[in-house]
Symmetry: C2
Subunit: 335 residues, 2 copies
């Protein structure tokens, strides 16, 4: 039985393109003892994967050229070789961009199809949702009365972060890249204000209007010039949660910008990078809370679904153009 | 009776110079009810004063052109108009750069001449010492086994910060601007390593040698390229205490440099600006602890004393050339 999978063809210089990826036909693998064979249903593409494509330092281990690409997958167990799952079980894990993949049972988590659509295990109830949860609550420490600014606000992480901010009683302002996204933020997600950065010349002036009391907490997925503007509007004791910097990931040399440390003395702001993985012991509690919010309607979510494994690279590349609203998924097969 | 005092003649563009200052002869003031007349013995010059000379935003309120300059003073009460002090009492407070100044008794703190030389109320037992104390312990959160890097390490704040780091059990590495200063760090203060940045082309290589396990805590008084290098060597969960950025204070446009947020995600480092003034309720406890350390010899200090009120501007300007070792003082009169 054949199995299609995507490999890293070469390291991208700057922006990845079709030459970055190689679509390979291999044999469907057999599960070793303790492993399960999983049929991919949904595949997640995420900005952090750009880091794994480069040889440079990143928090995520670099792929070797020729390696199969990997990411969050929701799939169906086809065969279990003592992996602790039954055929038909829906699971999630970090698996290959492939029709089928094997994994040790210990690397798979069960997905409950009765709780929510199974795709949410890659979005609002998965890594992006937990990233938003810990970043907003633990790192940005958002509380009632704060003004909370989010970049990449219509994306998988930002859309959840902003809503958690609202639930905490903050005034929430989101930056996003189209009028449709701003409508999504304001009308569907209940943000207090959305700023379409592609139609805004002066980010500081836009902030002065949307965040007239300054910025108490900032959840940054984007970096660059928007972040430069937000840093000029930080209130005393502000908290900045640095989650991602997608605007810089394709830079071909070290990006430069205005130095930010002098103003931190004035604001006594705290700037902290974080990874959801640092909060692993609390994953279950976070997922339960998120599921409760989704179930009650307190948190809405949206997905942008690209059909077909063959289109996974396009879905990934679209992240850098902001083509997705909400979580970008690739649907590989019907359940 | 005449009284000499320094005024802000004009706002400096870039580096201040003699045109920034105006030496004025006025009348010796009389204390209003509740005030004391203080004869200046020692005057402190500090880098933060550069911020007060500009109209721009700074945490310290800007002086108006023509205003008398102010700063930390140790002086002797000459006359008390119900201020709660006696003539002959030694006091400290934020007073004019002048031979004599008045102040409300509530704005003056007593200095105990039996505890330590009175000049230390402007240094190791004053604002610089407390800044080092809170920055090292509360913000950089230095503990045993850490590698702790300090810039401006031979200065009033850095020299104390590094020694508190040693007392906490850290490996302490200091950047300073001369061989004399590096000797002072290593031989007198017990730093594990000193780096003469003026004789170092490659700060990263110097750090790899002096801090082979990377940097867990960083106390930054200087900013700029040294800080750029330190940021590339931050360990996971590192803490950066941003105290000062003297290398940037005279910049005539917004300084730029490599963007630092992307690497913070890798390191999950926390970067926090702070002011000693935020810890006011704990000043007394900090000063007592510092006095105990000085008394026991656990903390050494040095002072660079410029003689004469007329030379106060030169003493201030010398800070930007790193002419001082330890606390830079101006001795205005004999006790």
């Amino acid at each position: 039985m054949t199995n299609r999978q995507w490999h890293l063809a070469q390291r991208p210089e700057g922006r990845p393109d079709s030459d970055t990826f190689d679509f390979v036909e291999t044999e469907r693998p057999d599960p070793e003892p303790g492993e399960a064979l999983v049929r991919t249903l949904y595949l997640s593409v995420d900005p952090y994967m750009r880091g794994r494509m480069s040889a440079g330092e990143s928090y995520a281990e670099a792929w070797a050229v020729g390696d199969p690409l990997q990411g969050g997958v929701v799939g169906e167990v086809v065969e279990s070789n003592g992996a602790g799952f039954e055929p038909g079980d829906v699971v999630t894990g970090n698996l290959r961009w492939a029709d089928y993949a094997t994994a040790p049972g210990t690397a798979l988590q069960p997905v409950n199809p009765d709780l929510a659509p199974i795709s949410t295990a890659l979005g609002v109830l998965g890594m992006p949702g937990r990233t938003a949860y810990f970043g907003t609550r633990d790192v940005a420490d958002v509380s009632a009365g704060d003004t909370f600014v989010v970049t990449g606000a219509a994306g998988a992480v930002g859309s959840v972060a902003g809503q958690i901010g609202s639930l905490s009683g903050a005034r929430v302002v989101g930056f996003a890249g189209s009028e449709d996204k701003v409508e999504f933020l304001e009308d569907d997600l209940g943000f207090d204000a959305g700023i379409n950065y592609k139609e805004t010349d002066d980010y500081r002036a836009a902030l002065d209007e949307a965040a007239p009391s300054g910025v108490d907490a900032y959840f940054d997925n984007v970096g660059g010039e928007i972040t430069d503007a937000v840093f000029t509007r930080l209130n005393v004791d502000a908290r900045v949660a640095v989650c991602g910097q997608i605007s810089l990931y394709n830079a071909q040399s070290v990006p430069t910008g205005p130095r930010k440390l002098p103003a931190l003395i004035e604001s006594r702001a705290t700037v902290q990078g974080f990874l959801a993985g640092d909060f692993t012991p609390r994953f279950e509690a976070a997922t339960e809370q998120l599921a409760e919010w989704v179930d009650s309607g307190a948190i809405s979510y949206r997905e942008t679904v690209t059909e077909g494994l063959e289109n996974a690279p396009d879905a990934f590349l679209g992240l850098f153009d902001g083509e997705n609203i909400g979580k970008q998924l690739v649907k590989v097969a019907e359940p």
